[in-house]
C-alpha cells in the first residue's frame, strides 16, 4: 500500500554539517569542554579577586612561546579549512594530504606547548596562582593532544588501503571542527594567562 | 534539659527570625491545604475510567478558556505569595542588621573540636581567654568575630541567633543579644570531621552586674593552689604533658593549642559540652579522653592515682 508509506530508500547514507549526527556529538563535546574552560577562567578570575596582588609572587608567563602558539594556531586555520572542504567534496587524495599537514601543525604546537610549560615562571605547587595557570594550560593541552591524535589516526586511516565508507569524510569534516574549537579557545585563554596580568600591573 | 531551640527565641535576632517563621508557615499551610483540596476535588469530581475508555480528545479542537482563567488566577496568587515571602525575608534581613553598637566583643576561633573564646577589650590587659563557654550581659548587643583554625565550622546558638560559618582564611562576624537571662546551648553546625557531633558550647546570659563580676574574675590569673595536694597537682600540670597544650594564666603554662584552663573549675561542661564538669568525668577525661570523645587531639594520660588526685584537686580549685 505505497500511498500510505513514506519511502526513504532514495535518501543518501550521510550528510555533512549540522545534518549529521556526528556534528551534534561534537557540539555536545564543545558545550561540555567550553563550559569547563569558561569555569576555569572563572576560577582564575575568582582567585585573582581574593588576592592582594596578582600574579602571586611571580612574574607573568614569558610571552615568547605562548604568542608563537597563537601564530601557529592561526596559521593552522587555513589548512584545517581546506581539509574540511576537500572532505566535503569527497576528494580522498587531497584529504590524506590535508590530514598530514594538519597533523604536522599539531605536532609543532605540542612541541612549542612543551616549551611554554617551562617558561610559565611559576610551579603548580607554589601557590594558587601557579595551580590555576597550570590547570588552564593543562586543560587546553589535553585538547590539543587528543585532537592531534585523532587527526593522525584519521590520516593513517586514509592512507590505509581498503574499502572505505563515504561517511568517513564526515569524520574528517567534524575533526576539523574540533580543531577550530582548539584554536578559538586558545585565544581567550592566552589573553587571560599572558595579557591580563600585564595590563593591570 | 539544655535549651537549644529555634522556636524559643531569647533575643531580638532569633525573635525576628521566629516571626518570619510563623508568617511563612501560615502561608505555606494555606497553600498546602489548597493544593490537597484541589487534588481531592479533582479525584472526587472526575468520573471513573480505565484503559478501555476512549480518550477524550475534545480539548484538541476547542481551547479550554474557563479552565485557563482558573489556572492563571491560581498562578497569580502563588506569585503574589512568593513576592510577599521574598519581601518579608528581605525585611527580616534588614531587621537583623539593626542591632545597636556592641558592648561586648568576643573573638571566637573554632578548632577541631572545641571553641576558643577570647574576650576583646580596648586595653590589652583586660582581654582574657576561655573555652567552650561564653557569658554575655543580658540586653546588650554582642559582636562575635568568627575565625577557624583548621576546617570550616559553624557557630549556632539557635535561641539567640542564626548561624554563621567560621572559615579558615576568612574573618566573619555575627551580632547577637540575649533579652532573657538563662543558659543557651549551641552546637557546631558544619560537619568538621570525626567529633563534629560533640562540639557544643554554652552561652550564659547574665544580668549586667553578674556579667561584670564574672568578667572581672576571668581577668585575674589563676587562683593559687589551696593545700599541699593541689600544689602537687600544679606541679604535675606544669611539669608534665598538660602544659604542652594548655595555658593557665599565672603559671608558666602558656600553650594555646588546647583550651585555656585558667578558670576551668567555673565552667559547666567538659570536652565542648560533651559531659558535665564533675570530678568523675574529669578523671575519666584526663586518663583517656578517647573513651568520651574518640579521636580528639588530647592524648591519654596514664597517671598514677596520687598524681591524678593531686591534679584533680588543683584543677578543681581553678575558679
Amino acid at each position: 500500500m505505497n500511498h500510505r508509506s513514506l519511502d526513504v530508500s532514495g535518501l543518501p547514507s550521510y550528510k555533512f554539517g549540522h545534518a549529521s549526527l556526528m556534528w551534534w556529538g561534537l557540539m555536545g563535546l564543545i558545550a561540555i569542554e567550553g563550559m569547563a574552560f569558561a569555569l576555569s577562567v572563572g576560577m582564575y578570575l575568582y582567585l585573582w579577586s581574593q588576592a592582594q596582588q596578582w600574579p602571586l609572587s611571580a612574574a607573568p608567563p614569558d610571552l615568547r612561546w605562548g604568542t608563537l602558539n597563537v601564530l601557529i594556531l592561526l596559521a593552522s586555520v587555513y589548512p584545517n579549512h581546506w581539509t574540511k572542504r576537500v572532505a566535503e567534496d569527497g576528494d580522498e587524495a587531497k584529504m590524506g594530504t590535508g590530514l598530514v599537514v594538519c597533523s604536522l601543525f599539531g605536532v609543532a604546537l605540542i612541541g612549542v606547548r612543551a616549551l611554554e610549560f617551562t617558561t610559565l615562571n611559576c610551579r603548580w605547587d607554589s601557590n594558587a596562582y601557579g595551580s590555576i595557570v597550570w590547570l588552564l594550560l593543562g586543560l587546553h593541552t589535553t585538547h590539543v593532544v587528543t585532537d592531534v591524535y585523532d587527526t593522525v589516526v584519521l590520516a593513517v586511516l586514509f592512507f590505509t588501503p581498503g574499502p572505505r565508507e563515504g561517511r568517513r569524510h564526515v569524520d574528517v569534516s567534524e575533526n576539523a571542527m574540533y580543531w577550530y574549537f582548539v584554536v578559538w579557545t586558545w585565544l581567550p585563554i592566552y589573553a587571560v594567562l599572558y595579557l591580563m596580568p600585564r595590563l593591570t600591573s | 534539659m539544655p535549651v537549644q531551640e529555634i522556636l524559643a527565641s531569647a533575643g531580638p535576632q532569633a525573635a525576628h527570625i521566629e516571626a518570619l517563621w510563623w508568617v511563612t508557615l501560615a502561608i505555606c499551610a494555606v497553600v498546602f491545604a489548597g493544593v490537597l483540596l484541589a487534588v481531592a476535588w479533582a479525584l472526587l469530581r472526575a468520573p471513573r475510567g480505565d484503559p478501555a475508555t476512549p480518550p477524550d480528545l475534545s480539548s484538541l479542537d476547542k481551547p479550554e478558556r474557563g479552565t485557563a482563567f482558573i489556572v492563571i488566577a491560581a498562578l497569580a496568587l502563588c506569585t503574589a505569595g512568593l513576592i510577599f515571602l521574598t519581601v518579608a525575608s528581605y525585611v527580616t534581613d534588614r531587621r537583623l542588621a539593626a542591632l545597636g553598637a556592641p558592648e561586648v566583643q568576643i573573638e571566637l576561633t573554632a578548632h577541631r573540636w572545641w571553641w576558643e573564646v577570647r574576650y576583646q577589650d580596648a586595653e590589652p590587659a583586660r582581654m582574657f581567654t576561655t573555652a567552650n563557654e561564653m557569658h554575655i550581659p543580658v540586653g546588650k548587643p554582642v559582636l562575635v568575630t568568627l575565625k577557624a583554625d583548621d576546617v570550616i565550622h559553624s557557630f549556632w546558638v539557635p535561641n539567640l541567633a542564626g548561624k554563621k560559618d567560621l572559615i579558615p582564611g576568612r574573618v566573619a562576624t555575627l551580632t547577637m543579644q540575649a533579652d532573657a537571662p538563662g543558659s543557651y546551648r549551641g552546637q557546631c553546625a558544619e560537619f568538621c570531621g570525626l567529633q563534629h557531633a560533640k562540639m557544643a558550647l554554652v552561652v550564659f546570659a547574665d544580668p549586667p552586674e553578674q556579667y561584670q563580676a564574672w568578667a572581672a574574675a576571668e581577668r585575674k590569673p589563676a587562683l593559687p593552689p589551696a593545700g599541699e595536694q593541689a600544689e602537687h597537682g600544679r606541679e604535675v600540670f606544669v611539669n608534665g604533658r598538660c602544659a604542652m597544650c594548655h595555658a593557665i594564666q599565672g603559671t608558666s603554662a602558656g600553650a594555646r593549642t588546647a583550651p585555656d584552663l585558667t578558670h576551668f573549675a567555673s565552667r559547666a561542661t567538659l570536652a565542648a559540652g560533651t559531659v558535665p564538669n564533675t570530678v568523675g568525668h574529669l578523671a575519666g577525661w584526663i586518663l583517656d579522653p578517647h573513651s568520651i570523645k574518640p579521636g580528639v587531639n588530647m592524648p591519654a594520660n596514664p597517671l598514677d592515682p596520687d598524681e591524678l588526685h593531686a591534679l584533680l584537686a588543683y584543677l578543681g580549685g581553678l575558679r
Partner: protein, 629 residues
Amino acid sequence: MNPVLEQTWRDPPGLWGTLCAIDHKTIGKRTIVTAFGFFLAAGILAALMRLQLARPENTLVGPDLYNQLFTTHGTAMMFLFAVPVMQGMAIYLVPLMVGARSVAFPRMNAFAYWVYLFGGLFLFVSLLFDIGPDAGWFSYVPLSGPQYTPGKRADVWAQMITFTELSGLLVAVVVIATVFKLRAPGLTLARLPLFVWAMLVTAFMILFAMPSVMLASTALILDRLVSTHFYNPAEGGDALLWQHLFWFFGHPEVYFIFIPGLAFMSSIIPTFSRRPIYGYPAIVLSLISTAFLSFGLWVHHMFATHIPDLGKSFFTAASMMIAIPTAIQIFCWITTMWKGRFDLRTPMLFVLAFFFILVLGGLTGLMVASVPLDLQLHDTYFVVAHLHYVLLGGAVFPLFGAWYYWFPKFTGRLMSERLGRWQFWLFFVGFNVAFYPMHHLGLQGMPRRVYTYPVDMGWGALNALSTAGAVMIAASVLVFIVNALGSRRGGALAGENPWGAGTLEWATASPPPPYNFERPPVVRARDPLWEPVNEPPAEPTQVVGLAERVREALVTTVVDALPSHRLAFPQPTVWPFISAIAVTVMFIGSIFTPWAIVWGGIPVAIAVTLWFWPKRRETMADLAVEKRP
C-alpha cells in the same frame, strides 16, 4: 516479528553478548537495575544510620564508620542511583517514544554504562576496605583536603565523581542527539511527548553543570596528590572556591533528578485521566525555564558563609521564583485530572503521592530559600527532611509509578496491582513517619551529620519514630522486589498497550523487538495512538525503504522532522567494555600517582582507536547499501 530485522539488530547471546551489547533497551534496563542495586546498598547504609540514631548516645556505630555511612549514602543516592536511573529510563524510552530504532552513538552509550558501573563499584569496594569517603557527599574543603583527610578516602570520592560525570555527560550527549536527529518523520518539536522534552532539558542541564564538579573534584585530587593550592587559603587558594564550584553543579543536579520525575508525571497523568495533558505549551516552557533558573540558585547552599548580604538576597528571590514553573505544571496536572476520567491504578497512586510529598517539600524549600530562616534551619535535620521530601516526592515516588507503568513494556507482563497497593501504602506511610519528625528535630536544634546526640536534649523519641518509619520503607522496598521478580515470570501478559496510552512506545510489542519498529511510524499528532481514526488516506503513516540486513535508521531534521538521510548504525562490539576497563585503570591509578594519566592513557588510546577503526565486514555491508549525497 521480522526475522531478518531481528537478526540484524539483536545483541549477540551469552556472556560475550553481555559484554558486546549496544541495544539501547539492554543498556537502559541494565542502568536501571544497576541503579536500583545502588539504591538498595545506599538504603542499607541509611538503615544502619537510623539504627544508630534511634537512641541517644547509642554505641552501635562509632563516629568513623558513621561518617563513612552518611557520606556514602548521600554520594551513592545522588551520583549512583538518582541521576543514572533517570538516564536509564531516558535511554530505554526516548527512542521508542520518538519512533527511532536506536539511540545516537549506541557504543558510546554502552561505554558510559560500564564506566558508571565501575565507578560505583569502586566506591563501595573502598567502603568495604575501610577507605570509604567520610567528609560528606559534598566533601567540603579544607576537611577533605590533604591536611585533614589523609589517606585515599577523599580521592576515592573525587575520582568516583570523575567516573560518574564522564558517564552522565556522555549519556546526555546521546539523549540530545537522539531527540534532535532520530525522530520519526512528522514528529515535530511541537509534537514531542513531554517525557522527551523533560529528558532533553535535563540533558542540556547536565552538559553545562557537570563540568563544574569535574573541575572541582579534579582540583581537589590535584591539591591532595601533587600539592596544588586551589583550596589552600595559606597560599592564595580559597575554601569557598570549592563551594561555588560544587554547588554551581549541585543545585542543577537536583533538577537532573526532579525534572525526569516531572516527565513521569506528565506521562502517567494523561493516560490515567484518559485525555491529553492540559497546557502542553505551558509545561514545555516551564521545563525550560526551570532548567535556566536552576543555574541561578547555587548560593542558597552558602547562606551561612560571609558572602555579602545583597548577593544572598538575589539568590533568595531566584530560589523563590523557581517555584513558579513547578506550580504551573502542578496546576496543569490537576486540571488534566479534574477534566478527565480517573483511573486509580498503582501508577496513579504514586503520582498522587507527589502532590502531598513534593508540595510539602517545595514549601519547606521556600522556607530555607529565605536567608534569615535558612540561618536557623541550615545544616539541621529540617534540611534533611526538606531534601528527602523533594527528592522522594518529586522523583522517587514518580519513579516507582513509572516502573509500574512501563514494567509491562520492558518485560511484557503487568505487575501485581495488589502488591503494588501494599507497597505504595507502606512506602507512603513509612516515608512520612521517617521524615516528617525530622522537621521538628531541626526546629528543636538537632544539627545534621552527627553520629549521636545527648540523652538530655529530648530528641530521642522523634528519632526512634523516624527509625520506625525507615523500617517501613525497607519493608515496602522488599514488597516491590517480590512484586517485580514475581511478575517477570508470572504476571499477566501485557500486550502492546495495556494502559490504552497515546505515545509511540506503546505502538510496538512488549517487550519491543530489537529493531523497535518494523516500519517506523510517520507522526501527525501529539498523542499518535489517540489520533482520530478518520485520517486523510493519502498521507503516509509508516516509513519503508530502510535496509534490512544493515542496521539502518532514519535521520531527520531538527525542528520539523523531515527525512534527511539513512544512517548505518554500528554492530555490537566489545571495545566499549575494554575501553571502560582501560579508563577505570587510568582513573584509579591516578589517585595514587599523576603518571597514571600518561601510562594509563596509552591503553585507553589504543582501545578507543580500535573501537572506532572501521571493521572490514561492517564496511563492506554498509557499502552495499551506501548512497553518497
